[in-house]
Amino acid sequence: MSLWRMEWARSLRKRENYAFLLTWILTLVLLGGLGQALPIAADYTNISATLITVLGLLLPLFILLTTAIHWGQEQESKRLSLLSTFTYPKWKFIFIRFSSFLVTQVLVLLLAFFIASLVVGQSFTTWFILFVYATGLTIYATALGTLIGLFGRTRIRAMLLAFLMWVVLVLLWPTILVAMISWLPYGMQMNGMILALFVNGFDLMRIWASTTVSSPDVFGEVYLNWLNWMNRPIGSIVVWAILMAMSSVLLWFASKVAWRKTS
């Protein structure tokens, strides 16, 4: 516990947290302000949709870069080799870093959401879903960034890999799906799209958040039954269990990489 406490204190002292806090406050306040200019009081509008889009664009980039550079630096400064001399399991050490960073980011996000809610009037449910969505993105991005950072040997390589991963999983993802799914027979396209969600945790979170904050018909009739299921408590539990499983697998791979590099 004292090691976790030490890591958390280190994580909280980092200056980039202030930049994150400012970015999230600005995003939420500026976009949320537009929502209040609407003549109707609908929970799910393009404001909440845009918040989901913008958070889905920026948050993975920030978190991937931060964690990847952090682990790249650990290797570059040989600190990881030093730590490997301790009689402490490496997976435990990686998990402590992961969880302390995650708790810090959740704290920053929570603070940003509370500050934004002072001047932006969204319903509690909308705020809550957006926050949970941001937390989900952070969990997945942190796990992925940890793996990338440990895979790249230096900071610059880790940064480039993280950026490349963000381009593929966020920026190019629809283009990749359009290019691949349109080759499938018509009857299999929907299944292909659903399957693709379980490859990309960022997209899975986006669909879950959009469906939960809006309604299951938000993506048209073809997905109605499937999203109805996702909208139920069991659906949400399964989605989150899958996200956690994907993140755990990434962390497990990360610990394997760390073990290989320090042995």
Binding site: I40, N46, L118, V119
Partner: protein, 394 residues
């Protein structure tokens, strides 16, 4: 004394709740001929296998009646044909069509309510002319108001909910619909094959189901939709193969897609507010439209301070084409990566819909803070402050 008073009160109350006494079963329809008046004085008539009332001839009046149909009936509860009849304060619980007006002229229906079981329509006008429906309320029917052929109908303040189509027009001409309230239907209003339909001051919201469309125009000519609020639907307004449509001063907010246009030409889209839709407009083959002064919720820049942006709003057909050909790609709506795809699939100017001077809009902020909010912020700051403290092992 107290028991006596309670007893008296109970005796006064009992006759009023016994509805069975006011039910009048009908073995055959009551036929109201020319210039006859039937005042039901609030009585309820039950009918099985035949209509409860038939109005025919000229100038008949049916007022203050309630009609209950047997569960499996497929015949209309009230049947009207002829000229200048009036139905006032009629309440119908039907399993078949509530009110059928066939080959009628100048029929007036005022404050009529129809409760169905979703199997048949509420009010049906077939081949009729100059009918006037005022304050019709229909719930749980197939189509709230169904009009086939005919012309010069006026519909004022209809309220239709929990049905398939709120209002369903098939090929009539010159129909005026004012102040409609259409909600929780599969489609608010289906306007098909019509000519000169005006829909104004309406409230079309929260339609349900996978299609959930506010207003649907198909092969409609010269339709005018103005000053109507359309919100909380999957698609606010869908227009296909419709020409000469005017959409003016409507508030189309909070829908998944505001406008969806397919082969809709010669339209005038003026001064509408489309803020807050996930996609304000998706379109294909819908150029040659006049689009001006709408609020789209996109980037605006007002240099001369006239309230209109110097940056035009432009929408591409790429998203429509994508989802129209491959429905599975609807899952991509709202994806951050669409920004890139949008640029890749950008279309030439002549096939895009462009508002050369969209209206500007400003965000609003107002104080929403509470003691709980401020307290939570302070608590988080304290956690951050104390969490930062050095806590090294050595």
């Amino acid at each position: 004394m107290k028991r006596l008073l309670v007893g008296i009160l109970f005796m006064c109350w009992v006759p009023h709740v016994n509805a069975e006494e006011t039910l009048t079963p009908l073995t055959e329809p009551i036929v109201i001929e020319s210039n006859e008046v039937f005042d039901g004085a609030g009585k309820t008539y039950t009918s099985c296998g035949h209509p409860a009332f038939i109005l025919r001839g000229t100038g008949a009046l049916l007022e203050r009646v309630s009609v209950q149909q047997c569960e499996s009936d497929r015949v209309p509860a009230v049947q009207v044909s002829g000229l200048g009849h009036q139905l006032i304060d009629v309440s119908i619980e039907s399993s078949g069509t509530g009110l059928l007006i066939k080959n009628g002229y100048g029929v007036r229906v005022i404050r009529t309510s129809i409760q169905g079981n979703g199997q048949a329509d509420g009010v049906v006008l077939l081949n009729s002319e100059a009918s006037e429906l005022r304050g019709v309320v229909a719930k749980e029917v197939r189509d709230g108001i169904y009009i086939e052929n005919g012309f010069q109908h006026t519909i004022v303040r209809p309220v239709v909910s929990h049905s398939r189509y709120g209002i369903h027009l098939m090929f009539p001409t010159d129909v005026m619909i004012s102040v409609p309230e259409l909600h929780h239907n599969l489609t608010g209003a289906m306007i098909m094959g019509t000519n000169r339909v005006t829909f104004q001051n309406g409230n079309v919201h929260d339609q349900v189901g996978g299609t959930a469309t506010g207003l649907m125009l198909y092969e409609a000519i010269d339709t005018t939709i103005e000053k109507t609020s359309i919100y909380g639907n999957h698609i606010g307004l869908y227009a296909e193969q419709s020409t000469g449509t005017t959409l003016e001063q409507n508030a189309i907010n909070g829908n998944d897609i505001g406008f969806q246009l397919k082969q809709a030409r010669g339209m005038m889209i003026l001064q509408n507010n489309l803020l807050g839709n996930r996609e304000p407009v998706t379109m294909v083959e819908s150029s040659e439209n006049i689009v001006q002064g709408n609020v789209w919720g996109d980037i605006t820049l007002d240099l001369n301070g006239d309230g209109y942006s110097e940056v035009p709003f432009r929408t591409d057909p790429y998203l429509f084409l994508l989802t129209d050909s491959y429905e599975a790609f609807e899952l991509l709506y709202g994806s951050p990566g669409l920004l890139l795809l949008k640029s890749i699939l950008r279309s030439p100017k002549d096939v895009s819909l462009t508002d050369v001077s969209p209206q500007t809009y400003s965000p609003m902020w107002k104080w929403n803070g509470s003691v709980w909010n401020v307290g939570s912020i302070l608590l988080l700051m304290i956690i951050w402050r104390f969490g930062r403290k050095r806590h090294e092992i050595v």
